[in-house]
Structures are given as structure tokens and as C-alpha cells.
């Protein structure tokens, strides 16, 4: 079926206004948060409800046309990069909060719902939704599920996968399947656990049941300024070593601080080679004692200034610099690449030193903003696209940083996902057998590779004949050797 005929069919099934084919309109959707990759989709579908999502997927399957799901388009790995000959299914019209159920500590939401809106809806009941990616004011829950998004507070509370209890999914067959629900431990394989973080390759979530957490009695936040990242790293190690698990420990180096100052005037201490943002939450008595310990550890690691947030406004100011860091880098460099590698926390000082060497070698600056508590680095490689050869140099440096993470036993991505961007790095982290095994799951869900093809894995696996899943007529029937009655 041609895209033209598919578009006609979709207009009939989901309404004319929900199908875009005009090039000017399509352009809006040509990239996600990783704007270096741009592909114009053949068609954009904006379904209004689950049935329409299923109808679009069903039509794509029948036509053999690939499709890609997209939420708010904030992803940083090109996971929602459209397919040039395919359909982009945008979930932004599916934005109802279907239920807030404080009695059972759950909320049920549609995939287009904005992350922070879940917390806003739960707050009057004394609850919140824990995963808090820095883009939480705009990113969607459906996208969070696809990417298994993290955030600053996942050090203590875990990632999206630890907070999603159930999903309703339109599978790559066009079937609607429910995995999990409000109650824990559903019997059978943990397909929910596999679906969360599968980056849109196993289907599209159309309804998400999340766990709500009781708001903590007390939250304390401090900003500690150090002369070097080594000193700040030592503080992190001694805090964790003392058995304290803060809600968050974030680090920024001098270059990242400079960028944040230029962008949002967060007024971090002058002359800092690194700052730590440390937040503790929980029962007041618990937090008080541990907060004192954290202050002591920072002092012992030669922090030259410690600011404690006196109220929510001061806390917001401390976080403002950190949360704006990625965008802020635009103030000090025309272009930049964000990486998302992870290393064991204890390797932090060594890896930062070696990253410095790599950066000096290439003559490119690298700003560091990261979740220090769990070793999730966000090096920002700064470059100028207008200077000949600099983009390639930046990409090479960025790859070398990922190699460094793997060398120290880490990962190429902690929360942004593999997407289009890092698929080529997967073989450095996993063997062919590992990748082949992972793709068996893909084959079970999507043997025709129509759901977000080309992402996560560098090369697709041939799925072969899947028992019990024969589509269309039986071969004997096709050959006229048998009839179906």
C-alpha cells in the first residue's frame, strides 16, 4: 500500500484533522531532543484515544509500513527520530489523567500526560510521582516509559521501571494487551519490566499505571562548593561510604557552572572548581541527623562554602542551575553533544582525569554535569559546527568517552536510552550473542520489525518462523492444496 493510500485510510479511521501529510506541518516532527538527526516522516498521526492508536498500528501492519511513537519529543538519543517512509504516531492528544487513587497509592494516566502533571495531580492528596527527569515540565509519561527515564532523585528512589506498575500496550500486531496493573507481582514473565525501557521497539503504551509515593515529611538541600572535582568526588564517596543514601547528589564542574551562571544567574559560589547539590528527604528526625553528617563530610573534603536552603524558594534556586545546565551550555558554545555514560562511582576521580586528557588531546572543551551518586555522567562536548572538521572531532571525542565508561565496567547510557545515537556503540558493551538474545524478545513482539526499526540495535535479527503466529493464509491454502471451512 502506498503512503498516499494509507493516509486516505487513516483519515477515514481517525479523522482528517488527525492525519498530517503537509511538508510544512511534518517539519515540526523531524527530530526529537537530539536535533543533530533529522528525518521527515512520511505521515504524522495524532490519535485521540487507544482505539485510534490500535487502528493506526493495525493499518501500518497491514500495509507493512514502519511506525515510530513520539511523546513530547524531548528524548536525547534520537529514539523518536521518524522513519522517512513511515508513520510517526504522536501521543500528545492522549493526555488525560484517568485516575488518581491515593488509597491504593496509584495513578492511571495516558501516555501524553506530562511527567510533572502527575505529581501536581497527586500533591493535594499528599503524594507525588518520584521519577523526575530534568525535562519533567515537558516530557511525557509515555516517553518516560519508553526510555526508562531517570532523574536526579533516582539514586534513592529508582527509575521509571521501579514506579510503573502496569501498562496497556498496543502491541506490534495491533492488539491491545495489558501488562501488570495496580496490584504487585502479576504471574508470568515480567513483560512489563522488559517493555519499560524498550524504546518503542515492543509497542506503544496507551495507558500507564504508576506508583505514587507519600510526600516526605522533611526535605533538606545544600550546595557545597569545592576547589576541584577531586575534592567533590571525595565528598560523595565518604557520604555514601558512611551509609547515607541521599535523595540526590549532583555535581557540576567549573565549565558547567560558568554556563549555568550565564544562562540563569543561579549565583553559585565564585571560584568553585566543582559544586555538589545534595538533597535528603524522609522523616524529619532521620533527615536532621544525616544532613549534619553530610555537612561534615563536605567540610572534611575541603568544601570552601556550604549553603543550606532555608526554604522552598532557596531550594528551587539551588536546583535551577543544575536543571538548566544542558540548555545553558548553549550560552558558552554554539554546539554541543550530551553524553550519558555511567561508571562505577568509585572510579569517578580517575575517569574525570582521563576525560580531561581526552579533551586536551582534541582541543575541545568538555563540561561535566552529572548524577554523582550513581556515577551517571553527562559530559557535554562543546564544539563549533562552522569550524571545518570540528563536528567529526567532537563525535570522535564523545565516542572515546563512552569507551572509557565501558573500560571501567560501566554503561553507554544511564537514562537517555540507546536510540539512534548509540546503537553503533552497543557491540562494544555486549557480545553478538548478547545482542542476538535480546533481539529474540524483539522477534517475539515484533517479528516484522515495524515498531521503531533501526533503533537500539546496530543490526536487526532475522526472526524466522514464529510458531503460532502465522499471518495471512496458510501456505497449503495459498498453493490451493487445502481449504479453510
Amino acid at each position: 500500500m502506498s503512503i498516499h493510500r494509507l493516509a486516505e485510510r487513516l483519515r477515514t479511521e481517525i479523522g482528517r484533522a488527525n492525519v498530517l501529510t503537509d511538508r510544512q506541518q511534518l517539519r515540526t516532527y523531524e527530530c526529537d531532543g537530539l536535533a543533530v538527526y533529522k528525518v521527515m516522516p512520511a505521515l504524522v498521526a495524532l490519535p485521540d484515544n487507544v482505539d485510534q492508536v490500535a487502528a493506526v498500528v493495525g493499518a501500518c501492519v497491514e500495509a507493512g509500513v514502519p511506525y515510530v511513537a513520539r511523546g513530547s519529543g524531548t528524548g536525547l538519543s534520537g529514539g523518536a527520530l521518524p522513519h522517512a517512509d513511515g508513520v510517526l504516531i504522536v501521543t500528545s492528544k492522549l493526555r488525560s489523567i484517568l485516575e488518581v487513587d491515593p488509597d491504593n497509592q496509584r495513578a492511571v494516566v495516558e501516555p501524553g500526560v506530562i511527567n510533572l502533571d502527575v505529581t501536581r495531580a497527586a500533591a493535594p492528596h499528599g503524594y507525588y510521582y518520584a521519577p523526575d527527569p530534568s525535562s519533567q515540565q515537558i516530557c511525557s509519561i509515555g516517553g518516560n516509559v519508553a526510555e526508562n527515564s531517570g532523574g536526579a532523585h533516582c539514586l534513592k528512589y529508582g527509575f521509571t521501571t521501579n514506579h510503573v506498575m502496569g501498562v496497556k500496550v498496543v502491541s506490534p500486531d495491533g492488539d491491545v494487551v495489558t501488562l501488570g496493573g495496580k496490584a504487585p507481582d502479576p504471574p508470568g514473565y515480567d513483560l512489563l519490566g522488559a517493555f519499560v525501557g524498550s524504546e518503542g521497539t515492543l509497542g506503544i503504551a496507551t495507558e500507564v499505571t504508576v506508583r505514587l509515593m507519600r510526600a516526605p515529611e522533611s526535605v533538606r538541600t545544600l550546595l557545597a562548593a569545592f576547589h576541584s572535582t577531586d575534592d567533590a568526588g571525595a565528598a560523595v564517596s565518604s557520604i555514601i561510604g558512611a551509609g547515607v543514601i541521599p535523595a540526590a547528589i549532583e555535581m557540576m564542574d567549573a565549565l558547567a557552572i560558568e554556563a549555568a551562571e550565564a544562562a540563569v544567574h543561579c549565583d553559585y559560589p565564585d571560584g568553585a572548581g566543582a559544586v555538589l547539590v545534595v538533597e535528603l528527604d524522609g522523616p524529619a528526625a532521620e533527615v536532621e541527623e544525616q544532613f549534619e553528617q553530610v555537612e561534615q563530610h563536605c567540610g572534611l573534603a575541603k568544601a570552601f562554602e556550604i549553603r543550606v536552603a532555608a526554604d522552598d524558594a532557596e531550594r528551587a534556586l539551588i536546583w535551577k542551575g543544575r536543571r538548566s545546565a544542558f540548555a545553558a551550555v548553549g550560552r558558552i558554545s554554539p554546539d554541543y553533544i550530551v553524553q550519558d555514560g555511567v561508571i562505577p562511582r568509585t572510579a569517578l576521580p580517575e575517569v574525570l582525569r582521563r576525560m580531561g586528557e581526552l579533551s586536551d588531546d582534541r582541543g575541545l572543551r568538555v563540561a561535566n554535569v552529572f548524577h554523582a551518586g550513581d556515577g551517571n555522567l553527562h559530559p557535554l562536548v562543546l564544539f563549533d559546527d562552522t569550524i571545518e572538521g570540528e563536528t567529526e572531532k567532537a563525535e570522535e571525542l564523545s565516542g572515546a568517552i563512552l569507551d572509557l565508561c565501558i573500560e571501567y565496567g560501566g554503561s553507554i547510557t544511564g537514562e537517555h536510552g540507546v536510540g539512534m545515537d548509540k546503537a553503533k556503540h552497543m557491540p562494544r558493551m555486549y557480545t553478538d550473542d548478547d545482542l542476538d538474545t535480546m533481539q529474540m524478545l524483539r522477534c517475539a513482539f515484533d517479528p516484522d520489525h515495524l515498531s521503531n526499526p533501526g533503533k537500539v540495535f546496530p543490526t536487526p535479527r532475522l526472526c524466522g518462523e514464529v510458531p503460532g503466529r502465522h499471518k495471512g493464509a496458510h501456505p497449503l491454502q495459498e498453493q490451493g492444496l487445502a481449504e479453510v471451512f
Binding site: D103, A183, A285
Partner: protein, 414 residues
């Protein structure tokens, strides 16, 4: 092919750690022909390759504490014993992770970790269980409220596929979204997707302070109200448990862990929530243990938080109506275990099961027959209805197309 030829081929890859099976090796009443005890991932892979060549049906066994869980294997030739693969490979205390071989017992693992004031924050109701078996059956306990379950703590896995290929997923850093999360798929898969040989786990510091607040509720519904009051508060309990014996009142126990000054204040706050009759003291003797013994019928009932009270009450009334003793114990997070005596007539168990399943379903939950006498389980629908079964079958077909790994033990006869 004769048994001798199979044994010879197994010996070529596993030396003297292969033997003909004896009566003690039967798995849930099914007699295997051979037992292999490989000492490494590579050796396990070679054993599984030989098994693939000969079309052998396999069950992996650690300490054997849960070999009467789920269904009986429908076919069995070879037991792959994991106990020669023991030991902690790596304990990076500063990174709060460990890498451990599948045959390590939970007790041994916790002892190693405790020397650095750390723990795998997962309960071991059966302490001699191996970590491999614990992952495969997804057992967890009362502390799930704070720490989650195995799926939340497992960060990397190495396993051997039915065709003898070694596969890894995840890694040894806590934060990692590269590739599909096969650790979660293997967790609770009852040995049907592969033989687990090594896992990487996230650790937590051992808490310094600890208090247990207990209180008595007149009946299940009252207990349900009490536990929800605690869960809805800001005391951040590690565990909230309800214990309803066959007769008499229900005990509620709340575990608080943290710094000494903190737990003192939180215990006082919990007493205020549960009422003046509640006491701060030692953990009750039943705390963290299954209500069922090795021979009893054990059910796992899941529900939303608000279903805990009604499930407790229904269990009591069913017990009276059918004249069978039923004790229930479990987490206010919505995971309760029920115990019926070993000699309960299977038809009575079926009636109890039906009523509990109907109510659990009303609270979005399920009831699984975890364990019980072999004959009883064979007479029952052990797993009940399972959502997403068609996709599960397709996954099984991909990883084990000949259905040779733990055949028949899992949901839908997988």
C-alpha cells in the same frame, strides 16, 4: 541414543561432575536420568550444548528448596545442579554492588556483605536457598515496601540459553538502560528461559537502628485499616506485616529502620497511628517467615492496598465455611501468603482458591498456588489466568523453541 552415550558426552565437558540420577534427584515426583554439576558458566554452556544435541529436558536446581513450586516438570532427563558455582565474584562496597555466582546461598552472600555493613535488601524466607533459585522464583519478603523485590535489585545477569549460548544483559552499574532488561525477564521465570549462572546486584547499607511496633486488630478488616494508616503516613516503614492465624485476632507489625535517633521518633509516631495498645519491642517470632511449612499448601495472594483487609476477612470466613484451617501472613503492600494444612482435600483447596481468586480479581490481584503436595497441585490450576500469555508463549518459543527447559512448570504450561 542410550543413557551411557549421553553420560559419556556429558563427561567429556563436565569431567567427574556428572552422574546417573538417583531417587533423591527426582523433581516434584518426576525422575531424571542424569545429574550434571558444572562449575562455571562456560561448563554450564557446554552441558547445555550436549543436552541440546541429545534433546534432553532440563531442570536447573540450586539448594532445591522450591522444587515443589509451580507445576511438576512435564518431562525431565537432566538436572543441572548449580551448587558447584558458588561464591562472591566481586563485592565493590564503595559502589554498593556485588557480582555473585548462582549457586551461592543467600546466607553466605549476606554474611560476606555484612562484613562491610551492607546487605542485599531482600528477605530470604528460606535461607539455604541459592541466589539463582531466588531469582528464578522471584521470592521476596516483608521488606519489599522500602526496597522493592528482586526485579528492583538485580542489575545484571549471565545465563545460558537452551542452545548452550551464553548471554548477558545489564551490567554492574546501578543505572543502565542499554539494551533490553533480560534480568527482569529471567526473574520469576522458573527456569524456563535459561540457566542463570551469575548475577550482579544492587546493595544497601545495613541500617544502624531498628524498631518493631506491633499491635493487635480484632479482625482482618480492622487490620486492613491499621496497615493503611501506616502506609499513608510519613514514617517510611521498611515493612508492614499482618499475621492472621487460623483463629484469634490479627497482629500487625511495623518495621522501622534508619539512624538511631530517627527510628526512636518514628516508632513513637507509629504507636500514635496504631493506638495506645501497640508496643515497641522485638520482632515477633513469625516475622519474615512463610505461614506454610514445607509440606503445606501455600498460596500467594496479591491485591491493591485496599484489598488487604477484605482478603484477610474472606480467608477467615472461607476457613469457617469449608472447615479448613487457613492462616494468612504478608505485606500490606498487597502480597499475602496463605497456608492450608498438607492433608487438605484438593477439592477443598480448589473451592478456597476459587473464592480467593474472585475477590483478589476485584482488587486487581491474582492467586497463585506456590507450593503444596504434588498430588494436590496436579489437581489444581496452579497459576490461574494470566494476562499477556500469548506474548509469553512467543518469548518462550524464541528462547527455547523445543521447550526443553523446565517444561510445563510455568504459566499456561510453558
Amino acid at each position: 541414543m542410550s543413557d551411557d552415550e549421553v553420560l559419556d558426552d556429558l563427561r567429556k565437558v563436565c569431567d567427574d561432575r556428572v552422574r546417573p540420577a538417583g531417587c533423591d534427584d527426582s523433581i516434584d515426583g518426576v525422575q531424571p536420568r542424569h545429574v550434571a554439576t558444572p562449575s562455571s558458566t562456560e561448563e554450564t554452556a557446554e552441558v547445555l550444548r550436549v543436552a541440546a544435541q541429545h534433546g534432553l529436558h532440563i531442570v536447573a536446581r540450586g539448594s532445591g528448596t522450591k522444587q515443589r513450586w509451580g507445576n511438576s516438570p512435564s518431562q525431565l532427563d537432566l538436572v543441572v545442579q548449580t551448587t558447584a558455582m558458588g561464591g562472591v565474584v566481586e563485592h565493590a562496597a564503595g559502589d554498593l554492588i556485588t557480582v555473585v555466582r548462582a549457586g551461592t546461598t543467600m546466607t553466605d552472600l549476606q554474611n560476606v556483605l555484612a562484613s562491610a555493613d551492607q546487605q542485599l535488601a531482600l528477605d530470604s524466607p528460606l535461607p539455604s536457598a541459592t541466589i539463582g533459585g531466588t531469582v528464578a522464583t522471584d521470592t521476596s519478603g516483608h521488606r519489599r515496601i522500602l526496597y522493592g523485590t528482586m526485579r528492583d535489585l538485580l542489575i545484571g545477569i549471565t545465563f545460558v540459553r537452551a542452545d548452550g549460548v551464553v548471554a548477558k544483559a545489564g551490567g554492574k552499574v546501578v543505572k543502565n538502560v542499554a539494551g533490553y532488561d533480560f534480568g527482569k525477564l529471567l526473574t520469576g521465570s522458573y527456569g524456563t528461559l535459561g540457566v542463570i549462572t551469575e548475577v550482579a546486584l544492587r546493595l544497601h547499607p545495613l541500617p544502624r537502628g531498628r524498631r518493631v511496633v506491633t499491635s493487635t486488630a480484632a479482625d482482618g478488616d480492622a487490620a486492613g485499616v491499621a496497615v493503611r494508616r501506616v502506609l499513608g503516613s510519613q514514617v517510611v516503614p521498611t515493612a508492614v506485616e499482618a499475621d492472621q492465624p487460623a483463629d484469634g485476632p490479627v497482629t500487625v507489625a511495623v518495621l522501622l529502620e534508619g539512624v538511631e535517633a530517627g527510628v526512636e521518633a518514628r516508632a513513637a509516631a507509629t504507636v500514635a497511628l496504631l493506638g495506645p495498645e501497640s508496643v515497641v519491642g522485638d520482632a515477633p517470632e513469625w516475622f519474615g517467615r512463610y505461614p506454610f511449612g514445607a509440606d503445606d499448601v501455600g498460596l500467594k495472594v496479591t491485591t491493591t492496598l485496599s484489598g488487604v483487609g477484605p482478603i484477610l476477612s474472606l480467608a477467615r470466613s472461607v476457613s469457617h465455611r469449608h472447615g479448613v484451617s487457613i492462616s494468612v501472613r504478608g505485606s500490606a503492600a498487597g502480597v499475602l501468603c496463605a497456608a492450608l494444612p498438607a492433608d487438605t482435600d484438593p477439592s477443598t483447596v480448589a473451592l478456597v482458591l476459587e473464592e480467593l481468586r474472585a475477590l483478589a480479581a476485584a482488587y486487581d490481584g491474582t492467586v497463585v498456588v506456590l507450593t503444596g503436595p504434588t498430588e494436590t497441585r496436579r489437581a489444581l490450576d496452579v497459576w490461574g489466568a494470566v494476562a499477556g500469555l500469548a506474548l509469553m508463549r512467543r518469548l518462550k518459543d524464541q528462547l527455547d523453541p523445543d521447550h526443553r527447559l523446565s517444561p510445563g512448570r510455568f504459566v499456561g504450561g510453558i
